[in-house]
Symmetry: D2
Subunit: 201 residues, 4 copies
Amino acid sequence: MANLTFRYGAMNSGKSTALMQVAHNYEEKNMKVIVLKPVIDTKGNDKLVSRVGIMRKVDYLVSDGNSIIKLLKDKLYDTSCILVDEAQFLTEKHVDELHFICKELEIPVICYGLRSDFKTNSFPGSRRLFELADKLEELTTICACGKKAKFNARVINGKYVFEGEQVAIDEVDDVYYESLCGKCYIEKVHNFVKQKRLKKH
Amino acid sequence: MANLTFRYGAMNSGKSTALMQVAHNYEEKNMKVIVLKPVIDTKGNDKLVSRVGIMRKVDYLVSDGNSIIKLLKDKLYDTSCILVDEAQFLTEKHVDELHFICKELEIPVICYGLRSDFKTNSFPGSRRLFELADKLEELTTICACGKKAKFNARVINGKYVFEGEQVAIDEVDDVYYESLCGKCYIEKVHNFVKQKRLKKH
Amino acid sequence: MANLTFRYGAMNSGKSTALMQVAHNYEEKNMKVIVLKPVIDTKGNDKLVSRVGIMRKVDYLVSDGNSIIKLLKDKLYDTSCILVDEAQFLTEKHVDELHFICKELEIPVICYGLRSDFKTNSFPGSRRLFELADKLEELTTICACGKKAKFNARVINGKYVFEGEQVAIDEVDDVYYESLCGKCYIEKVHNFVKQKRLKKH
Amino acid sequence: MANLTFRYGAMNSGKSTALMQVAHNYEEKNMKVIVLKPVIDTKGNDKLVSRVGIMRKVDYLVSDGNSIIKLLKDKLYDTSCILVDEAQFLTEKHVDELHFICKELEIPVICYGLRSDFKTNSFPGSRRLFELADKLEELTTICACGKKAKFNARVINGKYVFEGEQVAIDEVDDVYYESLCGKCYIEKVHNFVKQKRLKKH
């Protein structure tokens, strides 16, 4: 039976590299893969770019309104594996469709994505993958303290900020994300709350 | 660093047995564990009962309004592990508190529970555990077809039913749950939808 | 494809309990399992006994000279799963046979056993399972220091001893095993070596 | 507690890519890693080369006679992680030393390597890692049949050959390795044995 696999990890855990390695493994055996990516992510547009220096074209960009089944229906007969990058941005319906394709057509589906946002809440796609996946596998990265990082903190103009929209769109500020372990994340939140209280007075 | 672990599985995957085994392992080394259970589950009341024939008293029943930190605060100094049964019924706040206890007091927390309900939607507790846990580990059971079961189907008076409340309270009908693999679950849903359509005409 | 799984763990990690739970899960669905155990282990003879208080009869005791394929050949047609306890004591040939049965007859095989002896060397059965298994899964227990235990130390008359035969047969002494984490194991070995040196002078 | 991790996989499962990704993750946080490789492997000499197109210099080549502790002793004070490629070629003593460094100095050690040779026998390094590692994690690749590959078959002049030395040194023939699933591997061995018998007559 083909599996729906969700490989989740914090920012910078090497998800795109891992996806491209799997694609390479299939293609080396002359097997066809399809690489999908939700359109919401604009980093690299229709390209996967990995920090270690490799890249690859995405086969199909998926919008919220798209049906993945309709999008792929003529292309699935000779496909050995479907790979999805930034899978946290899939809709619930997209994940249901991928599960259906996997089970009915016996095509393995491997989704790579973030587990949760900077407030530790899951994204629609990751939540649904948690509910449906046959396998949940973590890709790990390290916190500055040396422990395994599982959370993503949002840093705006050099300061940790724990409020705001799930997807940052403000391009005025200098925004980046830092992967943190549970203990460091809790500490940063405490400092943030303390600072906010001080400002009120 | 102590871990927050979520061991999830479908109905009848041996979650309570596994919990009692871990409690036994600690106690055999003269280490204290605390066993919690959300109060919503009335099966066995304040007892864990396993289908293989072992049982154990729960240390604390947790209600939705309870703060686990307040409930346990004087008992944590000599506790080596916190074990939670039926963890899917924890509130989001309960899971946040368990994560906090784990990280701040370095006490391992192991939660056992269902991943999702009979409609494949996660419970509040399991969803939050997916977001916060350091380790997600699956306990497996088998579908009648021989494959690994991951879903729970609700069977009322001998028929698969895919509509209704998340927690069944109707005591008039004969309700039980059957663990199914992805393929068999999809098939049962299709039959259910077909039957409903036929009845309309 | 059916899998050959090796669930390994230190002493007292609940291997027999886990095996009996899986047997129960299959039988509850009216599926037949076969439970095997190498004859070398005399604890409970042809019974599995778990420390949490459940037991079960073994279907076949396997001696070193036995062929598992010959032993089971008429019984496999309606078997849904083969379960092996104390699998570290299987011969290399036994494991090859189990792998063959698994792959050719599509019958899942789940072996439970120790990874290594009190000197951290693998047993013949565990070594071959490491080489052939589709899945390696650890069952954990705790060291007295609170960390995960992975080694087994031999304690004779109250003292840690790191020399002697792999399988202890001396019934004169009071022998038991203690599961230890890597750090504590290294410490106990150092003390043992130091004591031996002191005695020499 | 720092972990000794063994990430094993068949040929072409992306082990070197994965190692370089981890090194990158540490260095991005300004943490130092040391990359080791046994000298026996001459592919790329003191370089890691990945099939997806990235490479990296090895910090230390380790010979059979080397003590890793002596080799690294002045360099460990500021090292956050030790990474080993082709770890199957480590000696038993090397692995013992890495385990000691990991536990006594609290430095994580991650070893990447093959599980077994073309006859399904483990290598000295992989066997010892199986005995000592805190975590065993599989890196997967695919068999030509679409299933997960776990074995490596040796192909000489276009034919599967299941006899010969563990490490091929003959440079006259055209030798390569193919990763296979359990079922396909058994089939190729059967064909090989049949051919050999036919030749005898």
